[in-house]
Symmetry: C2
Subunit: 200 residues, 2 copies
DNA sequence: GTCCGAGCATGACATCTGTCATCTTCGGCT
DNA sequence: AGCCGAAGATGACAGATGTCATGCTCGGAC
């Protein structure tokens, strides 16, 4: 029996996956969570064999869960299942030591399969992403990342400078270098590219 | 027995919801679809009592499905279920004549409940959105919408002008008026606001 | 100690954006 | 015919943005 803790922020999707997994003879959902904190609590309480988590959740994300688990319970494998085929996410997930990374676009058998193989100690990565992972690593520095995030909120340079306690000129420099690295033509395009690749 | 056609672009989520709905004694999923076209085909083939569809799907969206259904099969109610609590989406969904609009954040009982009530001829709208619907209607003109969409792709005014066959000055004018209407400080913020309210 | 590379700042400059007033054209409407 | 409003264009202007060269400081590496 594979005992699973399941984390997913959308209530309906959570119950749907829970009932789907329960249909499998060798899988049991022992705990559910709507965010990262709840997931960690559930792990403490139920000591599952595998943690299955979405990436984008309010507050504590799936990547945060993976990192915490790697520290505190490295013996329990974490599987990420997500909408987003973004190489940046996968890279950071692998850095966080996840055992599996699969896409919600894939057939459901992939999910069940991944749980079983991860439970056996294997690693499972969505094939369409496996290639992307080891080429084109994240070129963006942390500062550039922060600036880009604020650009995405529509803040002008002057406000970004205030938020980050930098001079406006420095903000311009970071943004300029991010634009070059991402091969964008302006701030908006830089943000769009960084978002789509999962660099943020 | 309520016979349902279910449309949802993410394979895993689709199977999960299908198996969840099958657990209900009075609901039967007679057809599934990964996009709007498939949904309409499934409707033709299976003549369901209700169509349950996601909004954001590649190509033909859930709103497109609702509009087509209102024209061709006004007797079959359409229920939208979506991640997005955006008033603009709801407004356009209601304009398209949908019978229900519920959020994936809500408990699963809401979904089942909605299907039953819609099948009885009622209308069901997620309560957290019902208020938003009749205040703050979409202030954006079609031209402004087109410009904003291209802004979101990161295009500079000159490129937007080429794409829309307008002069660059005119693009600036449309964007300027959108910025004022949305109470934004610049193009990027205008895009972010319009996106979050579902105006695009 | 010296050198080097981050990280941050400055100033100058060219270009892009955003605002506004004004103008033309083309359909309606009366 | 005369009037009006929508769609689009123009030109001028101020301010924001993007690029680049240069400079400073500080914490390693040699």
């Amino acid at each position: 029996m594979i005992r699973v803790v399941l984390a997913e922020d959308q209530e309906m999707v959570l119950s749907a996956f829970a009932s789907l997994l329960e249909l499998e003879a060798d899988i049991e959902v022992v705990g559910t969570a709507r965010n990262g904190e709840e997931a960690l609590e559930a792990v403490r309480e139920h000591r599952p064999d595998v943690v299955l988590t979405d990436i984008e959740m309010p507050g504590f994300s799936g990547l945060d869960v993976a990192r915490k688990m790697a520290e505190e319970r490295p013996e329990i494998p974490v599987v990420i299942f997500t909408t987003f085929a973004r190489s940046g996410y996968l890279r950071r997930a692998l850095d966080a030591g996840v055992a599996g990374y699969i896409l919600k676009d894939a057939p459901i058998t992939d999910l069940v399969d991944a749980l079983r193989r991860v439970h056996q100690g294997e690693r499972v990565v969505a094939p369409e992403l496996a290639v992307a992972a080891w080429q084109g690593s994240d070129p963006i520095t942390d500062r550039e990342r922060e600036v880009l995030r604020l650009v995405g909120e529509g803040l002008p340079n002057s406000d970004i400078a205030k938020r980050l306690h930098l001079s406006e000129g420095t903000v311009r420099n970071y943004l300029s270098s991010a634009i070059v690295k991402l091969n964008a033509r302006n701030r908006t395009e830089a943000f769009a590219i960084a978002r789509d690749k999962g660099y943020l």
